[in-house]
Symmetry: C2
Subunit: 130 residues, 2 copies
């Protein structure tokens, strides 16, 4: 996407949202932010993450970690011992991403009730017959 020959439109839309697309595709998925949050405090082993993040499957934890590693957001360190020991830690880049998300987290927390209320009101209007 760095060749960016898209540039068409005389207008906005391309400016902001397209640039966040990559980040949103990563952070917007089901587990990434959860992993990033845990790793922001300390390093974690695979099995510890698996136990801590309730509901995640081995497969999804692996995939999530791989993608975050690929984007340079965390490091994967394999200790050649028996049994194997693999530790995951956020990179500096990963930490700054976590910081950059905090406003959105705060917004979510602060407006959760208002959103829930809006949804209820909308649904009440939409399906009065049900």
């Amino acid at each position: 996407m760095e060749d960016g020959t898209r540039m068409s439109a005389s207008h906005i839309g391309e400016t902001t949202a397209c640039e966040v697309r990559d980040v949103l595709d990563r952070v917007g998925d089901k587990w990434s932010l959860l992993v990033i949050e845990l790793l922001d405090h300390e390093t974690w082993r695979f099995s510890a993450l698996l136990r801590e993040i309730e509901g995640i499957s081995q497969r999804m934890l692996t995939r999530t970690l791989r993608q975050l590693e690929r984007d340079g957001l965390l490091t994967r360190t394999v200790h050649p011992v028996v049994p194997p020991r693999v530790e995951y830690a956020l990179t500096p880049l990963g930490h700054t991403l976590f910081d950059a998300i905090q406003p959105l987290v705060a917004w979510s927390r602060g407006n959760r009730d208002e959103i829930a209320g809006a949804r209820d009101a909308y649904d009440a209007r939409a399906e009065p017959a049900l």
Copy 2:
């Protein structure tokens, strides 16, 4: 984060990420942020949005607008004229959401190259035979 409920590693994960889940599910999809960005400046008609957002289908524009409306992020105003005229505008809540996303947008813009580099390096390591 001024809330500061900094608990130890027992059951974090529920604290932060779960609260953003709703917002991420909305904003993290393919078109919502694009719509929010356009509406942040002015009101738009349906057909204008359809023309402006290149690649979006009628179906997805409708669905995106409906969900944002349901969450109280935008208003839908139908003008009873012929031909029909429907206008969409951000609510104050919608504007604050757009503001809350800006740090993430800035982060994306500022670190795009680093991420792209990390990906290239990772891929080069992973598939040297291809």
